[in-house]
Symmetry: C2
Subunit: 352 residues, 2 copies
C-alpha cells in the first residue's frame, strides 16, 4: 500500500494539511523554511504521490479522457488515438480507449460506463447522424468532441475535414482522367462521412454534366469486406463502371481485392480512389490514390478543444475543419507510383 498523507504527517510531526500544501506547492502557505525542507525531503524519500482517486473525488476532476472509436486495428483510428494522447499527455491527462465495432449498443454502454467513472471528457469518432448517444452526452452536459463524423450539424464541438470538398476533388480527378461511368461505394447514409462524400460525389458529377446512374451508388459500410461486397455488385453490372470512388481507404482496398479477383487490372480496367490516406495506402501495389486528411492532427486538435472545454467550463461549440488534399498514385494513373510522389513517400518513411 502506498503511503498516505496521514502517515506522512505522523512521521513529520505536522498536520496532514500542511503536507498536502507543501506537496501541492500552495503559494499561500507560510511555513518555517526548515520545516518545509524536512517535509520536502520526506516527500522525495518516500516518493509520495497523492492518491488520484481521493483527489478526483475531492476536486471533482479525474484527469482522464476517453476516446471512443469503432476499432483501433483500423489504422485510421490508431493514428487518431495517437493524436489524442499526444495532445492530452502534456496537460496531465491519461486516455481510456473504447472500441465499439460500430455497434450503437456497445457505444451506449461504453458511454454510460465512462460517465459513471467520471471521466472529464469524451472524444467520439464513432457517431452516426442524429445519434441518440450524442444527444445523451449533451443532455448530461458531459464535455465531448466529435471527430471525423458529426451527429447533428453544428450542435457539438467538432473536428474533421471538409468531406463535401474532398469527395468533389476525388470525383473531379476521375472525371478529368476521362471516366464517364463512375461508381461510388457510399459507406452508410446514416453516417455523416457517407452522406457528405456521397453528396460531394454526385454534385461533382452533375456539375460536370455527367449522368448519374443510381445503380452505381451503393452502400458499402466501412470495412474491407463491405467494400469488396459492394464492389462486386457494381462490377457485375452489364455496363460496369470504369472507376470507383470509395468512402474510405479500407473500403477501397476491399474493392481492389475484388477487382483483382474478377480479373480486372487496376488502374487500366478500373481506377480506384479511396479516402483518408492511411499509411497502408502508399504501400499497396499499385499505390492507392486517395484524399489525404491530417489524421494525427484530428486527434491532437480534438484533445486540445476538449481540455479547453473542461478547464474553462466553456460549453460553446467550436468547429475545426481541415482541408482535404488529393494524393495521386498508381490506382488511378498507371506509373504514378514511380514518379516523384512515390519518391517523396519513400523519403517520408526513412525519417519516420
Amino acid at each position: 500500500m502506498p503511503i498516505t498523507l496521514k502517515q506522512l504527517a505522523q512521521k513529520a510531526e505536522v498536520h496532514p494539511s500542511t503536507i498536502s500544501r507543501v506537496a501541492n506547492n500552495d503559494p499561500s502557505l507560510r511555513i518555517a523554511p526548515d520545516t518545509r525542507e524536512r517535509i520536502e525531503a520526506l516527500l522525495r524519500e518516500t516518493e509520495y504521490r497523492p492518491n488520484g482517486v481521493a483527489r478526483g473525488l475531492k476536486l471533482r476532476q479525474t484527469f482522464v479522457l476517453a476516446v471512443v472509436i469503432p476499432d483501433v486495428t483500423n489504422p485510421f483510428f490508431a493514428a487518431l488515438f495517437r493524436g489524442v494522447e499526444d495532445g492530452a499527455l502534456s496537460r496531465g491527462y491519461n486516455v481510456l480507449l473504447c472500441n465499439t465495432d460500430g455497434s450503437p449498443d456497445r457505444q451506449r454502454s461504453h458511454l454510460q460506463s465512462l460517465h459513471a467513472r467520471r471521466v472529464d471528457g469524451i472524444i467520439l469518432a464513432s457517431s452516426v447522424l442524429k445519434d441518440p448517444s450524442v444527444r445523451w452526452l449533451r443532455h448530461q452536459r458531459i464535455p465531448h468532441v466529435l471527430v471525423n463524423r458529426f451527429s447533428d450539424e453544428g450542435q457539438d464541438t467538432f473536428v474533421g475535414a471538409d468531406d463535401l470538398l474532398g469527395a468533389r476533388v476525388a470525383t473531379r480527378h476521375l472525371v478529368e482522367l476521362g471516366h464517364r461511368r463512375i461508381g461510388h461505394l457510399a459507406g452508410k447514409l446514416t453516417v455523416s462521412t457517407g452522406l457528405m462524400r456521397r453528396r460531394g460525389c454526385l454534385e461533382e458529377l452533375e456539375a460536370r454534366g455527367l449522368p448519374i446512374d443510381p445503380a452505381l451508388v451503393v452502400e458499402s459500410g466501412y470495412t474491407e469486406a463491405g467494400g469488396a461486397k459492394a464492389a462486386e455488385r457494381i462490377l457485375s453490372l452489364p455496363d460496369r463502371p470504369t472507376a470507383i470512388f470509395a468512402v474510405t481507404d479500407m473500403t477501397a482496398i476491399g474493392a481492389c481485392t475484388m477487382a483483382r479477383r474478377l480479373g480486372l487490372r487496376v488502374p487500366e480496367d478500373l481506377a480506384i480512389v479511396g479516402y483518408n490516406d492511411i499509411p497502408l495506402a502508399s504501400r499497396l501495389v499499385p499505390g492507392l490514390t486517395t484524399v489525404r486528411v491530417p489524421i494525427h492532427e484530428f486527434g491532437a486538435a480534438a484533445a486540445r478543444l476538449l481540455i479547453d472545454q473542461i478547464v474553462v467550463g466553456d460549453a460553446s461549440r467550436r468547429r475545426v475543419i481541415f482541408n482535404p488534399e488529393l494524393v495521386v498514385r498508381g490506382s488511378t494513373v498507371a506509373g504514378a507510383d514511380d514518379g516523384p510522389l512515390r519518391a517523396q513517400h519513400a523519403a517520408a518513411f526513412a525519417t519516420e
Copy 2:
C-alpha cells in the same frame, strides 16, 4: 451533476445506505417489498449509477487496467490492445492506453502516473531485459503482466510465444530453401525478442552445420526505418546474403523496401522472413513469409491472467507460451502467393 445517494435518499425518504444496498443488490438486505419496489423505480427513473470515483476510493478498486506499449499505430500493438479490451470488458474493466515510443523515460513516467491513479493492474508490452520499471512494478506490488517481451526470466506473469522456436523454424525454412548465407536483423539485444530470436537463428544455423558470419547479424531496432538501414548495411557487403530473417514484420518490410531500392528482386535475389504475421504481411506484394503468433490471444490471455491476479490477490507468477507457426508467402517462395495459402487469406478477409 449526476444524482447522488443522498439526494435519492431524500426523495425516497429512506437512509442513503438503504439505497446503496438496493442498488448493489445486497443479499443480506431485508426490506419491505413495496419500499424496495419504490426504490427500484426511483433508481430506474433517475438512471442512477454510483459515482465510480467514490466507489473506487471506498473499495480500493478502480476497475481500470492499463496497457503500456511502444506505439499503437504499429498493427501488432493495435491487435494486442483489442485482445486486452475484449478480455477485460466482460469483467467490468475499462482500459487506459499508454504509448512509450520505446523511451524508458516515457515508460517510467507513465507507470508512475498509472500508479498514482490506482489502476488495478498493468499490462506491459514495452519492457526491456532487466527493466528497472518492471522491477519497480514488482517492488510496489502492482499487479502486472508482461506480454511478448519478458524482463527477468520467470519473475513476472508472462504471455508470449516461444521466440527461440519461432526463430529456429524461420531459419530452418531458409536453410531448406538452399540458402547458405543468411542475414539476421536482430532488433535490440536489450529486448528479449531480439535476444531470443537471434539465439534461435544462430542455433539453427549451427545445427545445420552452416558457418556463422558475424557481419551478417546486425541490430536493427524494431521500426521500418531501422530495418531498412540495417538491411542496407548487410546488403552492401561484398559477399551479401541471399536471405534475411528479420526480428519483426515491420523490420522485414523496411528490408524489402531497401532491397527493391538496391535493385534486388524478392525472393529471387533476396528471400525475406519476418515475424508476427501482422495483417499487413499478407497484403504486401509479394506476401511476406513470417512466423505467426496469436496476437489477439496474447492480449486476451494477459487480461485474464491480470484480472485473476487482482481478484484472487494471487501473486504467483504464471506463464502462457503459445506455439509460433511458419506462414510461407511470396517473399521466400516465388509463386507462393497464388497458391492455396493466399486463397485462405482472402477467405479470412471476406468473413472479417
